[in-house]
């Protein structure tokens, strides 16, 4: 595209601004900050999944030398100055500490703050808590049944975000959110379908496991303000949430976020900040609280999901109806579960043209560790189900699964399940890219008996996610008289490279080299509001905010230069730190000359400010229909070639390709890193990452037992591909990229395993045991039957009320 030539920084592999710092170990993370007189806090956690707190005996703990305070929920309720001890981004359902009952194993019921961490840890063992155990519920389907133990008796909406403004006050149920989609008439469509496929797919809870654990340092500053240094992805929310606890104006709370040792969704909303702020408030001393790795397993998880899918298909291969019923195990506190269920709920049918859709997605409280957003905001869990279903149906009908997808996939202008017309949708382009890269040929799955050595298979899958809408990003850009630029943004640099990408956008708009741009890390005293750093939203939203703010400066510079140059501002070009007349490059001024002409003093500044706010047509509560469900869609597709060892069930990924529709690459290297990183992370979740939870107890709460992908788990061939379907309103056409690479990884692997050996795995993770068991079960079911020849029989059952999908 010729237009690319006009950009000097956008689309370039600009080195990261944080590079030198990071290779020398110099970045300051929250846990590195020490203040004079700093205290250390630890939490006392409930050993019961559900229990009334009868009494907290602090006496022995308080006598440990160095202990400054021991506090319980009751102390918090009795603290003058605490006007609202309840927090939560959707429902105010979580106390600063457990205030009435403990709702999960690991729920903090008391805190100890001491001169040293050692003293605090010693005292923690001496806090005696008397509990009255209550009946507990762990399974999200069970928790929906009448008579299930209630995790919360009443639900109070917190109204913190516009996209969750519709949640209702409720009580008497564990279902804290229900996302419905109703399009067409599914019952009539199923009645005329030739085949019906129905199946259940599950995803387990998992850990985000950023290597930097949750950590917060709180203190009361010399002006009596509450200041928090904290590892969060949502500084603006932390500010409003903290101000709400103490009933103070927003400018009495300051939230500073240094570099994050990553987040992946785990460091959103309020985590350790409320208790850290409270302890600083009562002790009037700086208080640091940092979780151990095992505690990390008790603060936030990826949602466990049980997903029931039903597809109605004609013998010609038209999908006439899709029905999905999904139960989301959100654990003891709603956290952001309702938004996860909302956003993944309405995309649960996938990126396809389906005339008849019925979706019910339930966000369900249980007595497990709370679940929140995890890179993909719930979408990978539904893609796991619907993309497994797509292959099941395609194979049964004898249609190539890729062809089947391309036939149904959404094109520009097609209606999504919500009735929303698609804008800038790159699903087909992504599918074609990955199919080409993997060397795709229509699969011929074989019923391979166990013990037949190694067999290979290839497969594809795709997914789509909608960006959080409405949401807000605000930015202030300041240009100094020497042409250097300071960007004030609350986007958190957590490894994704936002600092560099946002600097590129400012540099492009202001015609300066990126080395002249400095992006301020979040500090709510100086950086304006931003909804969250999550959900692949920052490049688009903060990018637009910065671009808008920079444009104001640009306009001022051009106007001032136009006067000096006696030219029309519209005829001027700002590039390479100069403003000149288009076509007459010698007629120009440098940026410092323009400043001198306009302001006439050394070191002056020009400032631009922009609030970028997106708007949605709220989904109809009963039907989920909306003219505009989201600001933009971003899709991804993946392809894999796997080798299954039918003797052991071991699966090796030989080659993996991940494509994401990024709109436009602001920095191609960042896109590659995000796409490949997302794929590797999700391969871990596909094969060996899961939290083993028994009766609410996490039994593998350490990295010894919960394994993360290492270098050895990277497929020998791994390719990441950016697909660029520009968005008309994106900064330079850009959309988002952080999550796209996660969406379809898991069903791609399951589909490839099916294509290799003919068994379908429905429950993640895909362990060797499960594959081997499936091979044996299938062999038993088919007796001594030898694998059938390449041309298979359509496997679906005629629509006679049968719902089982045979292999």
């Amino acid at each position: 595209m010729a237009i690319d030539l006009e950009y000097s920084v956008i689309g370039k592999r600009v080195p990261r601004l944080d590079g030198l710092k990071k290779v020398t170990g110099r970045p300051i993370y929250t846990g590195d900050i020490e203040l004079p007189g700093m205290l250390h806090a630890v939490l006392v956690r409930s050993p019961h999944p559900h229990a009334r707190i009868v009494r907290v005996d602090k006496h022995r703990a308080e006598r440990v030398p160095g202990v400054v305070a021991v506090v319980s929920g009751t102390d918090i309720l009795n603290t003058p100055g605490v006007v609202d001890p309840w927090v939560g981004p959707v429902f105010k359902d979580q106390g600063i500490l457990a205030l009435d009952k403990a709702r999960h194993i690991g729920d903090p019921v008391a805190a100890v703050v001491a001169e040293s961490r050692e003293a605090a840890e010693e005292a923690r063992e001496l806090v005696e808590v008397e509990y009255e155990p209550l009946p507990a519920v762990f399974d999200p389907v069970e928790a929906c049944k009448p008579g299930a133990p209630l995790v919360h008796e009443v639900l109070r909406p917190s109204r913190a975000f516009a996209d969750m403004a519709h949640v209702a006050e409720a009580g008497g149920t564990n279902i804290c959110y229900h996302q419905k989609v109703r399009k067409g008439d599914v019952d009539a469509a199923f009645a005329r379908a030739d085949y019906i496929f129905e199946d259940i797919f599950t995803s387990p809870p998992a850990q985000h496991a950023p290597l930097e654990p949750h950590v917060t340092l709180a203190y009361i500053d010399e002006d009596d303000r509450i200041t928090l240094w904290t590892a969060t992805q949502s500084p603006s929310f932390v500010r409003v949430s903290t101000a709400g606890i103490f009933g103070v104006p927003l400018n009495r709370v300051r939230v500073i976020v240094p570099y994050l040792g990553a987040g992946y969704g785990s460091k959103l909303y309020a985590k350790l900040e409320p208790i850290a702020a409270y302890l600083a408030y009562i002790t009037r001393r700086p208080v640091r609280i940092m979780l151990s790795r095992s505690e990390e397993f008790h603060i936030i998880t990826k949602h466990q999901v049980v997903a029931r899918y039903k597809l109605g298909v004609t013998k010609h291969g038209d999908i006439v109806a899709v029905e999905a019923e999904n139960w989301w195990n959100t654990g003891a506190y709603a956290e952001i579960g309702p938004r996860v269920v909302h956003k993944s709920g309405y995309t649960s049918a996938g990126p396809y043209k389906f005339p008849n859709v019925k979706i019910d997605a339930y966000c369900v409280y249980t007595n497990n560790v709370p679940a929140g957003a995890f890179r993909g905001f719930g979408v990978p869990q539904v893609v796991w189900a619907y993309e497994s279903m797509m292959d099941t149906a395609a194979h049964a009908l004898g249609i190539d699964p890729l062809e089947f997808r391309l036939r149904h996939a959404l094109d520009e202008g097609d209606e999504f399940a919500t009735g929303t017309p698609m804008v800038s949708i790159g699903v087909k382009a992504s599918l074609r890219k990955v199919a080409e890269a993997i060397g795709y040929t229509p699969p011929r799955p074989q019923r391979v008996p166990p013990g037949s050595g190694r067999v290979r298979g290839k497969a594809v899958a795709c997914g789509v996610k909608a960006v959080l809408t409405p949401s807000i990003s605000s930015a202030v850009v300041q240009m100094n008289a020497d042409g250097s630029v300071t960007v004030l943004s609350s986007t958190v640099e957590m490894g994704q490279g936002s600092e560099t990408a946002l600097a590129q956008i400012a540099a492009e708009e202001l015609g300066v080299p990126i080395t002249k741009v400095r992006v301020h890390l979040p500090d709510t005293d100086v950086t304006p509001y931003d909804t969250i750093t999550a959900g692949s939203r920052s490049t688009y939203h903060m990018g637009n905010a910065i671009r808008g703010a920079a444009k104001q400066i640009r306009d001022q510079l051009l106007a001032a230069a136009a006067e000096v140059l006696e030219a029309n501002p519209a005829d001027l070009v700002l590039r390479d730190e100069r403003i000149y007349v288009r076509g007459a490059e010698e007629r120009g001024l440098t940026i410092p000359q323009v400043f001198a002409a306009k302001l006439g003093a050394l070191g002056t500044t020009l400032v631009g400010e922009h609030v970028f706010k997106t708007i949605a047509d709220p989904l109809d509560h009963e039907t989920g229909q909306s003219k505009k469900a989201t600001e933009f869609w971003f899709s991804g597709a993946t392809a894999a070639e796997v080798e299954v060892d039918t003797d052991t069930g071991q699966v090796q990924v030989l080659k993996f390709v991940a494509a994401a529709d990024v709109g436009r690459e602001v920095n191609p290297h960042h896109c590659e890193q995000q796409i490949a990183g997302a794929a590797i992370l999700t391969l871990g979740l596909t094969f060996f990452e899961w939290m083993n939870v028994e009766q609410g107890q996490v039994t593998n709460a350490s990295l010894l037992e919960y394994q993360l992908p290492s270098l050895k788990d990277v497929p020998p061939q791994l390719e990441s591909v950016s697909v660029a379907v520009p968005h008309p309103d994106g900064p330079f056409g850009a959309k988002g990229v952080g999550e796209s690479g996660t969406l379809s990884v898991q069903p791609t692997i399951a589909n490839a395993i099916y294509n290799a050996c003919g068994v379908r795995i429905r429950d993640l993770p895909i362990t060797p045991e499960k594959v081997l068991r499936a091979l044996h079960e299938r062999a038993r079911a088919h007796g001594a039957e030898v694998a059938p020849p390449a041309a298979r029989q359509p496997a679906a059952v005629e629509n006679a009320g049968a719902t089982e999908v045979p292999e």
């Binding site: 080195p15 990261r16 944080d18 590079g19 030198l20 710092k21 990071k22 290779v23 020398t24 170990g25 110099r26 970045p27 300051i28 993370y29 590195d32 496991a209 950023p210 290597l211 930097e212 654990p213 570099y259 994050l260 040792g261 990553a262 992946y264 151990s292 790795r293 095992s294 957590m494 490894g495 994704q496 490279g497 290297h669 890193q673 490949a676 990183g677 997302a678 794929a679 590797i680 992370l681 350490s702 990295l703 010894l704 993360l708 992908p709 290492s710 270098l711 050895k712 990277v714 791994l718």
Partner: protein
């Protein structure tokens, strides 16, 4: 029990009084303020706290400082000489083999040890050696490229030395 030990930390002798149960990671961070030592798991699995003890990559979160009297410790802070980066750092910078940066110091030290111990390690040996260092951002492809690049950088002066 408290005891006094001497460590050579990044080339400088340091006399320290430590309790028997104190971990090397805590001593380096809290007493010597070497914050490039980052704790990630506390169980010696993730590699973030890797430092070199007498040249060997070591999980400082599992190592008792009191047992190291006389040892030579290298942390990320000792790697660069003023503005001059160590070749491994240079390679990580050039290949952009970092994202959030939390694992980076431990990773760079592990790669330095790898290239000193097994300068001709092939890809499998390299992966095996570095499997104890997690990068949750999963920039593993960039890291492998950085290892290759660092290997070449380190090989050049060696080749030169042989020639002369």
């Amino acid at each position: 029990m408290k005891r006094t030990i001497t460590l050579t930390v990044n080339g400088a002798p340091r006399q320290l009084t430590v309790e028997d149960h104190w971990l090397l990671s805590d001593v380096l961070r809290e007493q010597l303020k070497l914050y490039g030592v980052r704790e990630g798991c506390g169980t010696g699995v993730c590699g973030s706290c890797t430092v070199l003890v007498n040249g060997a990559p070591t999980a400082s979160c599992l190592t008792l400082a009191a047992r190291l009297d006389g040892a030579r410790i290298e942390t990320i802070e000792g790697l660069s000489q003023g503005p001059r980066l160590h070749p491994v750092q240079e390679a990580f910078l050039e290949e952009r083999a970092f994202q959030c940066g939390y694992c980076t110091p431990g990773y760079i030290l592990a790669v330095k040890a790898l290239l000193e111990e097994l300068p001709d390690a092939d890809e499998e040996e390299t992966k095996h050696y570095l499997a104890g260092n997690y990068c949750r951002c999963a920039g593993y492809q960039d890291i492998l490229r950085a290892v290759q690049s660092a290997r070449l950088k380190l090989a050049q002066p060696r080749a030169g030395a042989t020639a002369s």
